[in-house]
Each structure stands twice: as C-alpha cells, then as structure tokens.
Symmetry: C2
Subunit: 189 residues, 2 copies
Amino acid sequence: MRATALPVLLQLQEKVGYPYTLISPDMYRWAAGGGGGWGTICGTVAAGACVINLAVPFGDIGKVVGELFGWYAETALPTKNHEAYAKFPNQVQSVATTPLCHASVSNWCAASGFKEGSKERLDRCAKLCGDVAAKTIELLNDYHSGKLAVVYNKVNPEAQSCFSCHVEGRNDTLTKMNCLPCHDNPHKK
Amino acid sequence: MRATALPVLLQLQEKVGYPYTLISPDMYRWAAGGGGGWGTICGTVAAGACVINLAVPFGDIGKVVGELFGWYAETALPTKNHEAYAKFPNQVQSVATTPLCHASVSNWCAASGFKEGSKERLDRCAKLCGDVAAKTIELLNDYHSGKLAVVYNKVNPEAQSCFSCHVEGRNDTLTKMNCLPCHDNPHKK
C-alpha cells in the first residue's frame, strides 16, 4: 500500500507542496495483504483511492476511484513496464476481475503456478504497486486537465442479467464488481 | 467512511493533540459505498483501519486491523446501541460474514427485506459507522493498555477444510475471509 501512495504523494509534494507536505506515506500501510492478511481490497488500489481522495473535490472522488478500480479489475497485470529493471522478468500476467486482493492473488497464482508465499508472488505484487501508482497519476492528470474518460462505470456484459435484477429491479445489493468470478450462477441449477 | 473516522480522530485530537490535529476527516471519504459504489471493503472498516494505522506501530497494524475486520464480519449489526436516538428503531440485524460492503449490504437487504436504495438501508449503514467507530476506539484503548485480545486471527470452522488446502497446502490464495458465503464448495459437485 505504502509503495503505491509514496510515489504519488512525492509528486504532489514536489509539484504542489502544502498541504501535501503534511502527509506521510506511512499513513498508508494498513491495506497490505488486503488489510491484516484478510485479502479484502488490494492495498495498491486502496492507496490510490486514498491519494485520489486528497487531490479531487469530494463530489468527484467516486468517479475517479471507480475508474481506478475498473481498470485494475479488467487489466492484465503486472504490466510489462518493469522489464528493464525486473529481478523476476517476464512474469505471467493475470486479470483480477475485481479490485479485491484475494481474487487478484488467487487468479495470479492459478495463472502462474507460483504459491502465494513465493518470492515471485511478492515481486508480482510489488510490480502492481508501481502499475497502480502510475495509473493513479494518469487519472489525476486526466481529471485536472478535464480529459478524464469514464470508461469503467458500466456493468461487465457477463453480469448484465445479474445486475438487471439485483441492482436495478429487486435492488438488493450494492456493487459494480462482476458477479460470476466469485459466485456460481444460482439460476442455472 | 468519514462518519467513522471523524469521532475517532476527534478523540485523538482532543486527548493527544499533535500530530492528529493535522489530519482532516475529509481525507477519509473515498470508501463510501465500498469505493465509488464498487462495494469492495466496507467504508466503516476502511476508515477504522486508516485511523488504526495512525495510532499503532507499523508492526502491529495488521493485528489490530484484523481484529476489527473479524469482529465486523461475525457480529450482528447494527448493534442495539442506537435505540435511544434512532430515527428507524429496532432495525433488523445481520451478519456480513466478510468485511466487504457488498456482502454486508446484500445480507442485510436479504434479512430485512429493504432495498439497497431505501432510507432504512442508509440508516442501517449510518448506524454501522457509529458501531465501527466505537469498536475502533475500544481496540485502540485495549492495544495501548496492553489488553488487546486476539480472537479473530483464526479460520472460521466452516472454512477449515478450504484453508487446509488453499492457504496452507497448495498455498494458492491470500485471505482470512470465510470462503463459503461467496463461493459454492466446488468439491461437493
């Protein structure tokens, strides 16, 4: 988490200064391992969201955070932008399908064959810290230059029929995550 | 999210002062609705974790955050502590089973029959802000008085067989959440 917050904060501190100079990156450590190893939200996107919160007016935080979450959920990660300095080059990429640590790590372990406790998995998550920091900076730049494209505020086509009922009709849940990577479709039984 | 962070921060600002006086509760708005309506981590526990991060040494953040997450996942919420001033008294309680907004809201909608977009659901989540703030303060007091009991750093018995293989043996995932409320057991097929 800290590794994602730090580079964004440093840019804000160097280019804007106060009040970002009051903020320590050590304030963003709790979501490592999805928070105490619970695997809830991925610490990289939690850090990105925390910093977006610092640099976007209240009414637009959700819009920018949603773009970060959607990009994270649907992008093959880690990117190839680390190859020039990578200790573990050419790592397998995987798609998390949600912004959750647990899903992200599980899908990467399944795709790569490496264990959660492996050095390769730690390296993969370190690369994601950089990838998400870069995306966060890109989104903040886009937002503040009036160029933010809202591309992820839509239902994954795979889950359209779920959302038609559970979000819109019965309205008995709250999410933008794709349902099917976690839940079997109960209606097929 | 802000509604959970604020009362804890105010206590830290009043009783400790600097550096907590530098922190604005408006830094903790991004996780409302689980972050841009995505329903990832519940904003109340995200706020609690953010504030725990400010008031506990790095090495122990995960331990205290884990207790907050575990308590949230397994406790019938909202508590009855709001009855004296409640606009919607005697609300149905439900158990989230995870620290995730999406699961928490879904389970409460199922238990209560109210829609996600209802005033009753908004009131229920407002009550959770207070419940989680109170629990966060309790955990911080326990930690700093050397009385923190680690009661939630264990596998839910229902998921013991999942964890024996997927966390310990194959070691292909990362979580402390109970598996079965979200995933059907694939081995029963």
